[in-house]
């Protein structure tokens, strides 16, 4: 593990998480969630968990985002808060 890289990635993922929770446009929220999962994937690669990172790269950016985008398109796009 490399501590400085770990901290930089943690700060970036906290920024992505806060933005995904606070933004009003739900499509932007979903895409920020995909960016958050990319930083998770980088953190796990840096910890040596290559299998978990591989799964996260396929699942977080691929399948989960597609499910969320379909739901957002079929319901309302704008959130009240």
């Amino acid at each position: 593990m490399i501590w400085s890289l770990d901290f930089v990635l943690l700060v970036l993922s906290v920024v992505c998480a806060v933005a995904a929770v606070q933004v009003r446009d739900l499509l932007a929220s979903v895409v920020l969630l995909a960016a958050f999962s990319l930083f998770m994937c980088l953190l796990w690669t840096e910890m040596g968990a290559v299998d978990v990172a591989f799964t996260e790269a396929a699942v977080g950016a691929g399948v989960t985002t597609v499910f969320f985008v379909i739901t957002v398109f079929k319901t309302d796009r704008v959130s009240r808060d």
């Binding site: 591989f54 396929a58 399948v63 379909i70 079929k74």
Partner: protein
């Protein structure tokens, strides 16, 4: 706001995605088969195989999935993977060992082959389950 599936898809997107899909599927099969000695396995390969069909459906229209994989085949393969996994355990039981103990399988490297079989079962189930959820959400 609804999905815009009625308008014909752009020809460049269609051609590029169609030519990318076989390579993605080949990589997914490689990940399932090569999980013994590199990062990978049934879960990852199944998700990658499902993502290739998702890309195909997003590039074309929603009848594409029904055309390439009929709904009955999708439903059947969702349970076929679980049955392959549990059936190998029953085979081990019939050969005189414990459930899911691959020792007495009649191969040169029984544990390696047994693991490969259950990785294939996991891959089939994960692919079919993801595609089934995707189809149900899309066609609602």
């Amino acid at each position: 706001m609804t999905l815009p599936p009625e308008q014909p898809p752009d020809v460049i997107i269609k051609v590029v995605c169609r030519s990318l899909v076989p390579f993605i599927q080949l990589f997914g099969l490689y990940v399932v088969m090569h999980g013994h000695s590199s990062p990978g396995g049934g879960f990852q390969g199944g998700v990658i195989l499902a993502a290739s069909f998702v890309l195909l459906v997003l590039a074309e229209d929603r009848a594409t999935l029904r055309h390439h994989i009929p709904p009955a085949a999708l439903n059947a393969s969702t349970s076929a993977g679980v049955l392959l996994f549990a059936g190998l355990g029953v085979v081990c039981l019939a050969l005189g060992a414990n459930y899911l103990d691959y020792g007495p399988l009649p191969f040169a490297e029984p544990r390696s082959i047994g693991m490969l079989v259950i990785e294939i079962g996991v891959g089939i189930t994960v692919m079919a389950a993801m595609l089934s959820i995707f189809r149900d959400l899309l066609e609602f």
